[in-house]
């Protein structure tokens, strides 16, 4: 069973989103990192880049597969996790903590409320 903390929201494309002051922190879910296997490279967006809900913001490369990750909210990229350049495996090891991907300064915070709850995400992945 995957770790699905209740203090964050989720997307159908397997990002988690946590409100952190003005910004929203985004990462890959435990379920998704487990499905992908060992992440060997993370391609991050540029700080300041425009984010439109549903747009690809970067990519994750595992040994056997590659997946894009997407903006869960409209806004602009406020920060990216540069630690992942040197240590992409953090996405596997601590997906909800040191393995975060990027943050967004949202232009419409109400979009956060329409994201999936832990319970809904659990149903989405069939657990």
């Amino acid at each position: 069973m995957s770790n699905i903390p209740e203090n964050v929201r989720y997307t159908e494309t397997h990002e988690w989103v946590r409100k952190d002051g003005e910004n929203y922190v985004i990462g890959l879910t435990d379920h998704a990192q487990h499905e992908m296997g060992e992440i060997v490279m993370v391609e991050l967006p540029e700080v300041g880049a425009e984010a439109t809900k549903g747009d690809s913001m970067g990519g994750l490369e595992a040994v056997k597969t590659a997946e894009d990750f997407y903006a869960p909210l409209d806004g602009e990229v406020a920060a990216v996790n540069e630690e992942l350049e040197a240590n992409p495996a953090l996405v596997n090891e601590e997906p909800f903590a040191t393995g975060w991907l990027f943050t967004i300064k949202a232009s419409d915070g109400s979009q956060f409320d329409s994201l999936l709850t832990a319970e809904e995400y659990k149903t989405h992945i069939g657990e």
């Binding site: 060992e38 490279m41 690809s56 040994v63 056997k64």
Partner: protein, 365 residues
Amino acid sequence: MDKRTPLYEKHVALGATIQSFAGYLMPIKYGTIKKEHMAVRDSVGVFDLTHMGEFRVTGPDSTAFLDKLLTNDASVDNGKAYYSTMCYPDGGIVDDLIVYRIGDQEYLMVVNAANLDKDWAWVQSHLQGFDVKVSNESNETALVAIQGPRAQEVCSKLTDYDLDSIGYYEHTTGKFAGVDALIARTGYTGEDGFEIYIKYPDAETVWDAVVQSGEEFGIIPIGLAARDTLRLEVGYPLYGNDIDHSTTPIEAKLGWVVKLKTDKPFIAREVLEQQKAEKPARYLVGMKVTGKGFPRHGTPLYSGDRKIGIVTSGSIAPALGQAVCLGYVERGFQKRGSELEAEVRGKRIPMKIVKIPFYTEGSRK
């Protein structure tokens, strides 16, 4: 309904990630791919490769039959093995395979699991005119591979046979872990190692004996994912990725398994002779990724604005710590040291053509 190998329960008990592959439920990985990969490079690992297909060819015309069907020369000594391609009349590849010569009139062909039905039909369709019998032993033959620099130390405890006397691509039949086996010094990893062919009911005995014997060397089970990174790191082509019906052995740099120097007739001989003389329009090359990114199967390759090829395999090479690829480029662009670019998600990634194998420290004898 997917088939289970006789070692399926072992894989489940070991916590393997199991997926359907070529009609079998196979272990993809047990822990992490990197750890499994490095165990084979540094010490030793054990693989269940029971999904591979085995056809036994017997009868007075065995050599002539294989010489017709396969591009490589079947006239090897008893106890030797050879790698070959099997081609369609247009030069495209039906499959690549290893053939063990068991006796004057007996060979064992080992084919890719994903091609089993197609290969069997192909072999059957060429029997006419040859005094041979071919039997499909795939559903009764298990294969346990022990690969890595410590493989011989693991195996020597399990057989009375002097393994030093079995050279690379040689084999013998004898007792292994107390059961009847074909013991071969072959593999797909670039390391020294053995492949042990046994009957289904003996698979567990052999697996358990190997695991126990390998304990002092830190042996671990290796899944199909690491098998793929191991073969790519030494530049071995994989059928379905790097070679298929649309590629010829000449294009794939497998000319060394096409017996053009003999006078033996074989399927596609004229086509391949002509292609070799005229030079093919494209070649398979090895590439190192010099920029940041991971080109994969199907990624286009460019020289400037011109699309000049395509990636057929791409992954991280764990022992090298960087991404490597196999792919086809147009003739004229295959020179070692040439720089080109792959396009991934609209971004250009610099690549350089390098010598295969990428990894050159293997213990292969």
